[in-house]
C-alpha cells in the first residue's frame, strides 16, 4: 500500500472539467454517429390498464418526412425473456399510463413530434388501481428485497419488550413517490452496421445495457457496443435498461439508418422509473436512560404489475442502533403504475427519514439530547448479523459535527427561538450506507516510453470517476497523472459493474490497483524493472466482495446537523446552514468527494422540502410531470454547507480503504430537516415533503 499515498487524497481538479464547462464533452446524443440522424418520438398510453382496441397510424405515415410508424402490429419481434417494461411494442396490452404504444421515426425532431399527434389510439380500459395504503388486503411479502436482503428480520420478542418499555414511540411516516430527474434526459442513439449494433447511450454502466440488447435482438455480446463516456446525471434511473434503448435499436433496424430517441422531460415521469412511495410504522421502546430495548420498522410500499421492485427500506434499521429485540418487515402492493426503480440510496433514503425522525421523537419523550441518545445506542457489533464492524465511527461523526455546528447549549424545547418572523430550530440525524464491492475486470498497457493506458468499463455519471480512477491508477503505477490515460464508458472495455450502490470506485479502483500491482511485479520479475521496448499489456481485476465481507459488517456513516427557519405567518421553510461529518473511509479526491457529499445532502433537503410525484387517483397519471411542477431544490434553496470527513481508511473494505460516498449524503438528511422543523415550530411532520401547507394543516388552520 506504500504506493497509494501521493495523488489519492489530493483535491485534484476534474480531468473532464475544462470540456464540461465549455460544453464540448459529448454526451450520448451529442456523439457523431457518422451519418444523418433520424428522430424518434413516442405515442404513450393514456390509460393504466387495458388493451388497445384500435390504432390508426395512417395520418402520421402520410406526413412528409415521416420514415416509419412502429406499432404493436408491425414492430420487430423481440426475442428472449425480457423483463418488466422492455418488451416494447410487443403486445396490445397496456400495463401503466405512459407506456409506449407507437413510435414515429422522422427526418427531424419537429416532424416526429408533430406526427405523434397523427396516430389515433383507442383503448378498452379498466379503472386504475394506483393508490398505496397500509390497509390494503392485497399486500404481500416479496421473496427478497432489493440488493439480496431478507424481506423480514425478527429477533427476540419485540411486542413483549415494547409492552415492558419505560418509554415508547409508535408513529407512522410517509414518503411520496419521487422521480430521479437527472438533467440530461435519457437518450439513446442507435446505428446498425449489418448485424452489429452501436448504441450511444446515457446509462450508468454500458455492460448492463449490452446484456438486455443481446437478449432482445438475439445477438452475440460482440455484436453490440454501447458507448457512454459522459453521462448527465442518473441517480439510479440510468442503472438499468429502459424502453428507450430497445426502441432506438428497433427503429434504427426498421429505417436502416441512425435513430435517436431523446426522452422529453415529461416522459421521464413514466418511462425510466421512480422511487416508490412508502408508509412506515416505527415502534421504539427504551429504558429510562434511553437504551433501546425494542425496534420495530414495518414498511409498506408499491411495485408495478409487470415487475417486482422491492425497495429495501428498513435495512438501515438493521444496523444503526443496538437493541435486543428487533423486527423489520417489507410488504408490497402491486399497482397499475410504471415500474419503480432505484433512486439515490434506495431503501436508506426513505427508511432513514422514518427511523431518524422516530429517534428524535424518542429523545423528546425521554428528555435526552438527541445526539446523546444516539451515542447511548451505539452497537459494539452488527446488531443483527453479530459480526464486528470493519470500521464504524458514527459516534465520532456525531461529536465532531456537534462541535462544528455549535450544538452545545441547545435548548431542547421547541419553538423557543425566534428572529423576527422566523421560528428557528436545529436538528440532528445519523447517516449510513452499506460498503460493497463488485467484480470488475481491467487492462493496463504500457508502451516503451512509459505511457500507461488503463481500460475498464467504469462510468462517470458526475461522481468524478474520470479523475479519481486516474489518481488511483497513477499512484498504483507509481507515476504521475499525466502518464496515465484512462478509458471508461464503453462496453468494448474490460467488463465492470455500473455506477450504483456506491460501489463504483471500490470495485473499479480495486481492479485497477490489483492489475497495476501485477504489472509492476511482472516488470520487476521479467524485465528487471525496465520497460520493454514494445511495451506490456496486463489483464487483471477483482473478483467481487471483499474477502472480509462475510466476517465483518461494512458501512459508511455520517451525521447531519441542520438549522431550519420557518416563517410563522406563511409556513415558508428555509435551511440557512448545515454541518455534515462523514466516515467514508479513504477520501480519494478532496474536491470531488466534497461535491458528492454536499450534492447528496442537498438532494436530501430537496426531498425534505420539495419533491413529491402526485398521482391522480382517478385518472392514474403523475400530474406534476415536469420541472415546473415537480420541484427540486434550486440555488436559493441551499444555504451554507459545512462538509467534512474523518480520516479513517477502512483497511478491510477494499484495496483503497474507501467506503463509497455517492449516496451516504442523502441518507438521514430529510430527517435532520424534519427534526429541526419540529424544534423550530413544535410541529412534527411525518409525511414528506414539508410544504408550507402542512404548517397550516398541523396548526389546524386548513
Amino acid at each position: 500500500m506504500t504506493t497509494i499515498d501521493r495523488l489519492v487524497g489530493a483535491g485534484v481538479d476534474r480531468i473532464d472539467g475544462p470540456a464540461k464547462v465549455r460544453g464540448t464533452a459529448a454526451y450520448a446524443y451529442e456523439q457523431d454517429p457518422g451519418e444523418p440522424i433520424a428522430h424518434l418520438a413516442v405515442v404513450q398510453s393514456t390509460v393504466n390498464r387495458g388493451r388497445i382496441t384500435r390504432l390508426d397510424p395512417s395520418r402520421a405515415e402520410a406526413m412528409t418526412g415521416v420514415l416509419a410508424v412502429l406499432t404493436p402490429a408491425n414492430a420487430p419481434r423481440l426475442a428472449g425473456d425480457l423483463a418488466s417494461d422492455l418488451p416494447v411494442l410487443q403486445s396490445p396490452e397496456v400495463h401503466y399510463q405512459g407506456q409506449v404504444v407507437a413510435a414515429v421515426v422522422a427526418e427531424t425532431s419537429e416532424i416526429a413530434k408533430a406526427a405523434v399527434g397523427g396516430v389515433v389510439v383507442e383503448y378498452a380500459a379498466e379503472v386504475p388501481d394506483v393508490v398505496l395504503s397500509a390497509d390494503r388486503d392485497d399486500l404481500y411479502a416479496p421473496e427478497k428485497v432489493m440488493a439480496g436482503f431478507d424481506t423480514d428480520s425478527v429477533i427476540g420478542d419485540v411486542d413483549g419488550a415494547l409492552a415492558a418499555a419505560a418509554v415508547t414511540v409508535d408513529a407512522t411516516y410517509e414518503t411520496p413517490a419521487q422521480h430521479n430527474n437527472p438533467i440530461e434526459m435519457h437518450a439513446s442513439m442507435a446505428r446498425w452496421d449489418g448485424d452489429s449494433l452501436t448504441l450511444w447511450d446515457a446509462n450508468q454502466g454500458p455492460h448492463t445495457i449490452v446484456s438486455d440488447l443481446v437478449k432482445g435482438f438475439a445477438l452475440e455480446p460482440g455484436q453490440v457496443r454501447v458507448i457512454s463516456p459522459y453521462v448527465g446525471g442518473a441517480f439510479g434511473s440510468k442503472a438499468f435498461t429502459h424502453p428507450n434503448q430497445m426502441l432506438a435499436a428497433m427503429a434504427a433496424r426498421v429505417v436502416g439508418r441512425t435513430v435517436v430517441f431523446e426522452l422529453t422531460r415529461q416522459q421521464m415521469f413514466s418511462l425510466v422509473g421512480h422511487r416508490t412511495p412508502t408508509i412506515q410504522r416505527i415502534r421504539l421502546g427504551a429504558d429510562p436512560e434511553g437504551r433501546l430495548t425494542a425496534i420495530s420498522h414495518e414498511v409498506v410500499e408499491h411495485t408495478s404489475k409487470i415487475s417486482e421492485f422491492a425497495e429495501q427500506t428498513a435495512t438501515a434499521t438493521r444496523v444503526l442502533y443496538a437493541a435486543a429485540n428487533r423486527r423489520t418487515t417489507h410488504r408490497l402492493a402491486r399497482l397499475d403504475v410504471p415500474p419503480p426503480t432505484i433512486m439515490r440510496a434506495p431503501g436508506e433514503t426513505p427508511g432513514m427519514f422514518a427511523l431518524e425522525s422516530a429517534m428524535d421523537e424518542l429523545a423528546v419523550a425521554l428528555g435526552i439530547d438527541p445526539v446523546e441518545l444516539r451515542i447511548r445506542n451505539e452497537p459494539a457489533e452488527d446488531p443483527e448479523r453479530h459480526v464486528p464492524w470493519s470500521s464504524r465511527h458514527l459516534v465520532e461523526c456525531l461529536r465532531t459535527g456537534a462541535e462544528r455546528f455549535g450544538w452545545a447549549g441547545r435548548d431542547p424545547r421547541p419553538r423557543m427561538r425566534t428572529e423576527g418572523r422566523w421560528l428557528v430550530g436545529t436538528g440532528v440525524a445519523a447517516a449510513t450506507y452499506p460498503t460493497r464491492r463488485r467484480k470488475a475486470d481491467c487492462r493496463i498497457s504500457v508502451d516503451g516510453r512509459g505511457r500507461y493506458v488503463v481500460e475498464i468499463d467504469g462510468s462517470d455519471i458526475g461522481t468524478g470517476a474520470w479523475t479519481t480512477l486516474s489518481q488511483i491508477a497513477a499512484d498504483a503505477l507509481g507515476v504521475g497523472l499525466d502518464a496515465v490515460e484512462l478509458r471508461i464508458g464503453d462496453s468494448r472495455l474490460p467488463r465492470a459493474g455500473g455506477a450504483g450502490g456506491s460501489t463504483g470506485l471500490a470495485s473499479w479502483g480495486s481492479a485497477v490497483v490489483l492489475t497495476a500491482r501485477d504489472l509492476r511485479r511482472r516488470l520487476e520479475e521479467q524485465y528487471g524493472g525496465q520497460l520493454p521496448a514494445d511495451g506490456l499489456v496486463v489483464d487483471g481485476g477483482v473478483g467481487g466482495e471483499s474477502p472480509h465481507a462475510k466476517t465483518h459488517s461494512m458501512h459508511a456513516f455520517g451525521a447531519h446537523f441542520v438549522e431550519v427557519r420557518v416563517d410563522r405567518d406563511t409556513g415558508e421553510v428555509r435551511v440557512p446552514r448545515a454541518t455534515s461529518v462523514y466516515d467514508g473511509g479513504t477520501i480519494v479526491n478532496a474536491k470531488t468527494a466534497r461535491s458528492q457529499f454536499l450534492g447528496g445532502f442537498s438532494m436530501g433537503i430537496s426531498m425534505a422540502l420539495h419533491e413529491e410525484s402526485q398521482i391522480d387517483a382517478r385518472l392514474g397519471h403523475y400530474v406534476n410531470h415536469d420541472l415546473a411542477e415537480y420541484h427540486i431544490a434550486t440555488n436559493a434553496d441551499i444555504g451554507e454547507l459545512d462538509i467534512s470527513w474523518l480520516d479513517e481508511p477502512d483497511e478491510l473494505a477494499n484495496e483503497i480503504g474507501l467506503k463509497g460516498i455517492g449516496e451516504i449524503g442523502i441518507t438521514g438528511a430529510a430527517a435532520a430537516v424534519a427534526n429541526a422543523y419540529w424544534h423550530a415550530t413544535g410541529l412534527r411532520i411525518r409525511d414528506l415533503p414539508i410544504t408550507p401547507g402542512k404548517y397550516f394543516r398541523e396548526l389546524g388552520l386548513t
Partner: protein
C-alpha cells in the same frame, strides 16, 4: 414550412434553412451540432439551454430560430476567446461547481449574463435597496440570480463561490 435564416453563433455566421417550428436550441444542437447548450426540459424550466442573445441570457428552448436571424448567439464554448477558457470556466473548474456537467454550460452562460446585469445595476428579488446604483453580489444575491438554472447534482454550494470569485474580479462584489 421552411425559412432561410443566418444564425450567428460564437462569432461565425451559418446560413440555414429551418422549419419555422425549430427552436434556437434545436437549431444549435440538431442542425449545427453545436451541443454546448444542453436540453434538460425543452420548456424553459431548467436553464440547461441558457445562451447569451446579444449579451443577455435566454432559455434557447423558448426562442424560435427564425426570430434571431439578426442576433448574436454566444454559447459557453463561445465565451472562450482565442481558445483560452473564460474566467468563469476556470472558476467553475477550480471550485468544482458541477458534477455531471450537463447543466454547466447553461450555468456558465447564466452567470455571464447575470454579471452583466449586476454591472448594469439591475436589482433582484433579494436586493434591499432598489434604487442603489451599485449592485453588491453577495452570496444571497448570487443564489437568487442563479436560481433559474437547476442542477440535479446540486452543486449549488460550489456554484456560489465560483461565481463570487469572478464577481469580485469584475468589481460587482465587495
Amino acid at each position: 414550412m421552411d425559412t432561410e435564416i443566418t444564425l450567428r453563433v460564437d462569432g461565425a455566421a451559418h446560413p440555414l434553412t429551418v422549419d419555422t417550428r425549430t427552436t434556437l436550441l434545436d437549431a444549435l444542437r440538431e442542425r449545427l451540432r453545436n451541443t454546448s447548450p444542453k436540453k434538460g426540459c425543452d420548456h424553459g424550466q431548467c436553464g440547461a439551454c441558457t445562451v447569451l442573445l446579444d449579451g443577455r441570457r435566454v432559455n434557447s428552448c423558448l426562442v424560435l430560430a427564425v426570430t434571431v436571424d439578426d442576433a448574436e448567439v454566444t454559447t459557453s464554448n463561445g465565451l472562450a476567446a482565442d481558445g483560452q477558457p473564460h474566467r468563469l470556466h476556470r472558476s467553475f473548474v477550480e471550485h468544482d461547481a458541477f458534477q455531471c456537467g450537463y447543466c454547466t454550460p447553461g450555468q456558465v452562460c447564466s452567470a455571464a449574463g447575470m454579471l452583466a446585469e449586476a454591472q448594469a445595476g439591475w436589482p433582484s428579488h433579494v436586493t434591499a435597496d432598489l434604487d442603489a446604483e451599485d449592485v453588491d453580489l453577495t452570496d444571497a444575491e448570487i443564489r437568487e440570480r442563479m436560481s433559474g438554472n437547476l442542477c440535479r447534482c446540486a452543486a449549488y454550494a460550489n456554484i456560489v463561490p465560483a461565481v463570487a470569485a469572478v464577481a469580485a474580479v469584475e468589481g460587482v462584489r465587495r
